[in-house]
Symmetry: C2
Subunit: 417 residues, 2 copies
């Protein structure tokens, strides 16, 4: 008995799913419906004539298709369609990270209640089997730490900047290559990665986080000079999504961080994605590959369909609501740009000392003018909020040419035993 599949949304990923199904003909998976608005202009010659093209979701719902593949994206109406399909006992496969991050727990419950399954391997790091790897291969560990490069656009921008390019130029390239939207905020400000971190935290750390509770920081404040100073610390800069259980607390954050060059996270280039999972028993496991794009994302969708066709249901690992804090205790990098005059370092040191923060090192490259002089202070492990309080004390100093930039430094850790 085959599963009968209806694809909702025949864009880049949807047509790639159809293409792979037509090419590989996986046993037990039959494509029966393709739904799209103005479907007439979507019709493709290479799709078998047995497939029904439709503009009506109700037609799909009433049909004998027993699995929907939701690739429409966004919360509305995609969420409503997934919900109605599950309530009708149809299983659903989706790549919709926003929907799963916000409503995954509820949709999982609806699926269970109606004997249906909900798969979303394509929602995080498209072509990299992180979600099935966690659910099937690491369920036997107690994962305590997640570190990921979950947004290919940011990784493209930052890895190009590492090679000397300027933010604005690279963003323009990313937009013309189709990696970034006209309004890039979703990517560069961390919202896209944050939704993915919520999904991974649920599966790996068994913690249900509220999306808006996780602090995000933009990568737009990173300048070329930061890569130079990071290099002096044997580091580079990447957008890192990080979650960790420590004691009973759950720490999570998304934003640019200094990453040691000998960490796998520093090796990612271009639009590559990478996920590092730290387990109590198995130590660190790293997954990497193409996180986005039509074909890699379609591979994740088709893999979920094959798993469904083999009669495998969801691996429902129990998760529970967790409060999030962004208070990692980490070393920090602080880049100042100042109008130089004597006494500045003393004022900075005083502000930091007031919060019990110790300076670790101070770097100043030659070759800059007195009016706009960048230099860097690194400090010993402290929380970001303590650092913010310290920096607030000097925020109105007349020698600041621009507000200071503070970044967490991701330190290599011994795997927890």
């Amino acid at each position: 008995m085959s599963i009968k599949v209806a694809i909702l949304g025949f864009g880049t990923v949807g047509s790639s799913v159809a293409r792979i199904l037509c090419d590989l003909k996986p046993q037990g998976v039959e494509l029966t419906h393709i739904f799209n608005r103005s479907v007439a202009r979507k019709r493709a010659e290479w799709v078998p004539s047995t497939v029904t093209w439709t503009e009506s979701f109700d037609e799909v719902l009433a049909s004998d298709a027993n699995v929907i593949v939701e690739l429409v994206g966004g919360l509305d109406p995609a969420g409503e369609w997934v919900r109605r399909a599950l309530e009708a006992g149809k299983s659903a496969v989706t790549g919709n990270k926003k929907l799963i991050a916000q409503h995954g727990v509820e949709l999982d419950r609806i699926a269970r209640a109606h004997g249906a399954s909900l798969f979303y391997g394509a929602a995080v790091a498209g072509g990299i089997p992180v979600i099935p790897g966690l659910q099937h291969g690491l369920a036997g560990d107690q994962v305590t730490r997640l570190e990921g490069i979950l947004n290919g656009t940011c990784n493209y921008i930052l890895s190009r900047m590492e090679e000397g390019a300027q933010f604005a130029d690279v963003l323009k390239d990313a937009q013309s290559l189709g990696y970034a939207e006209a309004n890039p905020s979703e990517d560069v400000d961390g919202y896209d990665a944050r939704a993915k971190l919520v999904i991974l935290s649920r599966i790996a750390l068994r913690a249900d986080l509220a999306v808006e509770d996780i602090p995000v920081r933009t990568i737009t404040s990173i300048a070329a000079i930061d890569f130079e100073y990071a290099g002096e610390l044997s580091c580079t800069i990447r957008q890192i999504s990080r979650a960790e259980t420590r004691g009973g607390a759950l720490l999570a954050t998304v934003g640019p961080m200094l990453v040691p060059k000998n960490s796998p996270l520093a090796w990612s280039r271009g639009t590559e994605n990478m996920v590092l999972v730290g387990g109590k028993y198995g130590g660190d496991v790293v997954f990497s590959g193409h996180g986005a794009g039509g074909h890699p994302t379609a591979v994740a969708v088709v893999s979920d369909l094959i798993t469904l066709a083999h009669g495998s249901g969801n691996i429902d690992l129990p998760s529970r609501k967790a409060e999030v804090s962004g208070e990692f205790l980490l070393r920090h990098y602080i880049r100042f740009v100042v109008k130089d005059r004597p006494g500045i370092v003393g004022e900075i040191a005083g502000a930091l000392a007031g919060e019990q923060i110790n300076i670790h090192a101070l770097f100043q490259r030659p070759g800059f003018g007195k009016d706009s002089l960048p230099f860097v202070v690194t400090v010993e492990p402290c929380t970001n909020s303590a650092l913010k309080r310290a920096l607030a004390k000097i925020s109105s100093a007349e020698w600041l040419a621009e507000p200071p930039l503070d970044l967490q430094i991701l330190e290599p850790e011994e795997p927890l035993k």
Copy 2:
């Protein structure tokens, strides 16, 4: 309803499986039996008193345990026990690479015929979820290429040699650390990695290979000087297990190879394992982590048990028998050690030209005596057999101080589109 689990073999991995089951108490998994020879001396305080300890496999078979975890290793009697359990309708989880490499296809068939499941996530790269990742997350791709660092002992030896240590010293360290056996042949000569490559080829390339058909080469012929010359080519040396479909043919080989330093395979250190999977649609995916050791391997076993407890059966992806050839068309590195005299390079060039093999470059480091002078020739892509024929022609040359060493050079490839 819980699955009732009998562990066969209470050694490092077996006791670690029991430990994780007692610590994490995964829902639906109940440990009921532990089998070991002379079981009295194995009995552990921390195992719940409800568990039955036994020296009799027949007692396990007759019991209500419905899943056996085979961690005895070797073909006999482990294979017979797995077979009898499956025939009795019990599912089996095993970390036995030798058994699955040689008899996996048959055991899968027996499992299917008796409504049982056979899982072996622990058989390859222990703590890294490569097998579940392939079965659940990449089933929707057409994998055309596998490259792996599948033997932690070889990787420990070669990554230490890269830092300047001598083979014999590192082997001794590996033995005292418990990474290598007193007789290290299984590891250093490639047999261990070959069994794992057979298992991965079946799952990823859907090809059933006969273990003994895959050519293996030892790492024992690698000397410190080879790392120096490899470095001049921006490469290092790793034991690589490689399989690839090209046209209708299947190429596979295991042995030391030159690996470019910008390849993820060059980044692996110590006993780390790594698997790179190249797919037609999804491009390259890399998995890495701890491939062996009690805890990481136990994580794979417990994960398989949790998958079973969730009612997920095997993902039976169809595979078919395939003939193996080791005839990759690759650049080669050839290291000669000669008693120097004029004309040697001419003789080598002549022998290579006779097989239509073009020299690419020649390297000779200063500082060696005329009696035992090492130098390296690299050649443009050729098959290993053509190179062997060329080298055979000069094998009795009186200027050879030792037989030449030839290594394939793993070149970065564009993902197949």
